[in-house]
Symmetry: C3
Subunit: 279 residues, 3 copies
């Protein structure tokens, strides 16, 4: 079914998926700030610094332990694990598999970020192997989620060419088939387990001009999932925090450079009460 069809499941989800409640978001941010969870990040070469800085600013503790000799051990210690397939190569993939396996064995949440899914056959095979290990959460842009749901063949490199509204249905189907929570981000973010779907609005398009805002959001999802068993709400709170920080950043920046810093400031300055006062 195409997103433009008027009465399908897609439209239904878009219209009726409830917004994340401010009270729930506030409670989850409080949990994060109290626990300061250790998040083990195996991410791509381009975004390691912003990913660490986003976690630190939001109130978590990042660690990048990347060698296959120690990644699995460390994943067993961490509160949550991020696996981002942005720049995969064989030795790093072995470390990622060791970490995903250790997180599963320890009952810890792990998040898969399937960067550029649908664009390159070799990479799609890699991503499929991780999806089959049933990540706690899969977080991607619309083109990536649609590709994983079997609906189309990828965006423009790492950038989405589809709107998140068009990917809600695919996200729900992917959640159902994979057993993972699926987060599809864009102008509106949707978080679904295949049955329940939460919607998060807000944000600012300038975020798409700063590399790593999406990748580091996946790390934030891992951080929030480390402090709450309600992982649908935890994942949606990560999205809401990112969107609120982007809005604050836009008000205080003139371009993507100043936006980047103001975004980090925003993640740090936003307080739990900011989610309830906004309602």
């Amino acid at each position: 079914m195409k997103p433009s069809e008027p009465f399908g499941l897609g439209l239904f989800s878009k219209m009726t998926a409830p917004l994340l409640s401010g009270v729930d978001a506030a409670r989850h941010l409080e949990l994060l700030r109290t626990a300061r969870p250790l998040v083990h990040c195996l991410t791509n070469e381009v975004v390691q610094e912003i990913t660490a800085n986003v976690l630190l600013a939001a109130g978590a503790s990042p660690a990048m332990v990347v060698a296959e000799e120690e990644a699995g051990f460390f994943a067993g210690i961490a509160g949550g694990v991020l696996i981002n397939i942005g720049t995969p190569y064989p030795s790093r993939l072995r470390a990622m598999h060791a970490s995903a396996d250790a997180a599963r064995a320890a009952g810890r949440p792990w998040v898969l970020d399937p960067v550029a899914a649908g664009g390159i056959p070799w990479r799609d095979g890699i991503i499929r192997e991780f999806v089959e290990k049933q990540p706690t959460v899969i977080r991607g842009n619309a083109s990536e989620i649609l590709a994983l749901a079997g609906e189309k063949s990828g965006g423009k490199g790492v950038d989405s060419t589809d709107s998140s509204d068009a990917a809600v249905e695919g996200a729900m189907r992917l959640a159902g088939s994979s057993g993972s929570i699926v987060v599809v981000t864009g102008e509106t973010d949707y978080v679904t387990d295949g049955v329940r779907t939460l919607r998060v609005t807000g944000g600012d398009p300038m975020a798409t001009l700063v590399v790593g805002t999406g990748c580091s959001l996946s790390a934030l999802v891992a951080a929030f999932c480390a402090v709450s068993d309600d992982r649908l709400t935890a994942s949606a709170t990560a999205c809401a925090l990112a969107k609120k920080a982007a809005e604050a950043a836009r008000r205080r920046s003139e371009g993507p450079g100043s936006f980047h810093n103001a975004y980090l400031d925003g993640l740090h300055l936003i307080k739990p009460a900011d989610f309830t006062s906004a309602e």
Copy 2:
């Protein structure tokens, strides 16, 4: 011949090489903003984030696909390819060769950035292999271009110890022998195919205190070459955009930290008309 000799070819070039015209620069920036080309970057470990952010801010779409298993495939899809030899090692070099070969086979422009050429024998051998593949453009600082032209043995690590004025002749000779357009950047930038030479003035020395401003300029050259077959003008427009953004950044910064962000803001905010109104 030494750059201080008064009547040589070097002086002639410096004095008579025409400035890039504002109309040409405006037209090329318009082309970039319309096409938003996908630029495949195989660059060094240090500057991946700024390289992606520079491309995004300027209006292109970056992608770093680095594994030898997928780099060649992806280079065939991209509008342009960057090969930066800042932190080479064997597996990455195989990915770089696959990408350069794929770009050549697909008739797409690729840019070589020969970081620290002339400084380390092992690296010089690597760079020579890429030069022999006839890059569309070679972009370096004066010490690097002089080393490739066979005139001296390198700068201070990755920093130039020579002025670009002193390297014009060497750049012209290198362009003639390699078949590549050569861009030598510094206080003044020169872009030459060995016959025609364009000059770009402006900029700000603070840019040399931010790592990756040179490396990311090579990515911008690839982006502009992806949208125009007039690659002399395309390369010079990349230089002009970088210099104009540096000037804007200097007016709004106090040191290299604030300069970095203001530079990205500048790349984003500069419009085609800014090149013609300045004339």
Copy 3:
């Protein structure tokens, strides 16, 4: 002995270790700015950009030459070498050993940053091998230094869970047993050769929310040691410059994003006289 015991060596050191003198700091910053030493950095994947930018802002010249085929050669050319064990893996470790060996052979200073020491058995073995090569300086946070001194088993991932005051004794013992100068950083920084100990106060806790401020301080230590044989004072000056830049940054920032840039601005803007006028 525990740091809370009132009459031990720890308290003695904390109370009586002299502050780095402003005159000494000013002289060493002058030396750095004049010589602009080339610092060869083999550091972790996450902090390469900020490490280069910190060196450039402070007045040194960074170079990351990471392949085992060229790292040793380059270490022989550089004024100082940094070995940071944040994201070790076999091929990079070979490059690090080659660089450490070349620095020793050439009589050049090299600094070891034992990231997350005490946290992962495989990594601890790696760090031990470097400690046995007698680095000129070992720079770590309190948890790392305590782990190397055999007193406890590590912090929270890469973050310290101990105060630097609690690690003075351990640092002195480690300096005595290793033959290295030991720098333990935190709210107060201590620099010790096992006999003499210097104290550096100031700074701002916001620095702990920006990834790489500690790692890049180790690079600054290498830079200052490259320009002075009084390496106790040189190392302490690196700490003092970082603390002063952090104070300046705090006054001009609202969160970790703006702090990051203001910190780099501060490193660039601080002049030798600022150390003497402050006394």
